[in-house]
Symmetry: none
Amino acid sequence: MKLLTEKGIQATPMSAIAKAAGTGMGTIYNYFPTKEELINAIYLYIKNLEVQFITRKTNESSLKIKFLDYYKAFIDFNLQYPDCFAFMDQMQNSPVISCHTKEKGKAEFLQIIELIQKGQDEGIIKKMSIEAILQFLAGTMTAYVRWMLGIKENERKKYLDHQLRMVWDAIKE
Amino acid sequence: MKLLTEKGIQATPMSAIAKAAGTGMGTIYNYFPTKEELINAIYLYIKNLEVQFITRKTNESSLKIKFLDYYKAFIDFNLQYPDCFAFMDQMQNSPVISCHTKEKGKAEFLQIIELIQKGQDEGIIKKMSIEAILQFLAGTMTAYVRWMLGIKENERKKYLDHQLRMVWDAIKE
Amino acid sequence: MKLLTEKGIQATPMSAIAKAAGTGMGTIYNYFPTKEELINAIYLYIKNLEVQFITRKTNESSLKIKFLDYYKAFIDFNLQYPDCFAFMDQMQNSPVISCHTKEKGKAEFLQIIELIQKGQDEGIIKKMSIEAILQFLAGTMTAYVRWMLGIKENERKKYLDHQLRMVWDAIKE
Amino acid sequence: MKLLTEKGIQATPMSAIAKAAGTGMGTIYNYFPTKEELINAIYLYIKNLEVQFITRKTNESSLKIKFLDYYKAFIDFNLQYPDCFAFMDQMQNSPVISCHTKEKGKAEFLQIIELIQKGQDEGIIKKMSIEAILQFLAGTMTAYVRWMLGIKENERKKYLDHQLRMVWDAIKE
DNA sequence: AATGAATGAGACTTCATTCAT
DNA sequence: GATGAATGAAGTCTCATTCAT
């Protein structure tokens, strides 16, 4: 991941990946038939990691707090694994990631979808298409993390509350 | 642009670019010393286009309407030139775009910055760091356009109002 | 070597070299990072061959005979491997051969140097700087071989004695 | 010449030659149909210069002194125009110089040939084939000049006498 | 006559993939 | 199963030459 994002996919030979992975090129090809499939596999692997990280906590509080906890968890994950973020950010629009992979990656946000729908039913969250809200949230989060990763770690904290306020104001009824 | 985004940078040889441009490879190299510099130049060219497109209109209305007009103009530009959007979206995080180019690209949002600051002074817009707001807005816009470009043109209209509502609610005091 | 000297460095693509070597281009690049380094390596390889060829024989005769035997050995080597000679002759002044390589190539004439110094001590050879004598000898030898290679093999013999006479007269006290 | 020898023929584009010559590429092609012919023309031009330089002086002294004057004149020419020397030295064995050009270049040493033959007739110079002597002399001279050009100018003087002594001893009866 | 922008053939070099070990 | 040397297709870039100005 680190190699792939630092230099770009095309500038990272399989030999370098094998070396960094402490294995031989041939071994990689025993598990992934092509470089492309390796990258798609990494993509899905990270998506999985992400979901596991985020759905870990299931506290019992108000819907708003639950929602913001999710949102914060997303951010935390990406700030904690900046290489993962950089990788995903870069692959998002790359022709290397197949549609099939993208579909698979999406199918894991059930919990948050349910939460938002519940919020809409209770009149707390704006009555819009789920897709609109999800896209909106993803956009804000990506931009926020990308920004945070560009500034020093000790300066990050102060921006979180503002971000959460904007996000909540955006979707709340 | 089209080739570069459809196939990816590395899968697009200079020979193909030259052919599509109706010129010889050598000619391109007379103007851009490397493929990388060509891509950086396209990046800046689009940024320029964008700014010109957006700052065209200077209506005399309320700050909120002015702001949303800007926001809509951004969206319009990108929906109108989907190739440009795809290109920028893909290059944004690519190691091919140099820091220097990114800096140059940024230095053109004075108008919108001034508008937001005025809104903050008037108590209309949340008192947060400009950067936080700009990053937030950029994130929402990119996600929105990317989404819109993925659905049929006649279905797009209905989502715009929702998007604008979320955006405004997010930043308004 | 043959290709490189016959056609010239630049007129000999690596693909042709690989073909002649019965291998793939990539394989060559696994051992020599650039064409230039390949050529420098060939240069040093020949220098080595040469030294081994020349220092083979250690007869026990007069200093003059020993010296002329060395000189003849040099000539023999180059006449025996005309491709080597052509290569060295052409690369000698080429900007492709690095200073470093030239230095390395030089460091192998200790035996002949010692012989000349002994001759000087015994009053048999002119008391001049070793460098002056070595350069002189190298010049005569190169010219002689180049000439010989231009004429038919059976006509060569008769010129050797004359050459040796001139060489010895030149350096003898 | 300077460009051609410093970088090598292949590394010197016509555009660079034109620039250094203060003219346009097209203009060069009006006079020399190809790069190769330009180089051959330079070769002949230098050969001509050389002959004119050497045959300038016709003193009336002993044959030995006359001969050594010629030899010194050759050396002087090359030390005075080191670029010419480097050029000729490099082109000597290059496949770029055509046989025809080489032949033309040779046809200009009549004076020195006559001098040597006279010396042979008078029993002053060894009775060998003229070609053998000419090749020998050319070899010594080239090596000497190449060596001299590699050392500081103020250190050169002291080696000349030694060189002349070796050369004369080599060919004198 | 002088020019130099345009051109594409062809150079060097990389690297995904294979396969004998 | 692991390995990495071998491979050549394909990429970037150069530059001799042309030709409209």
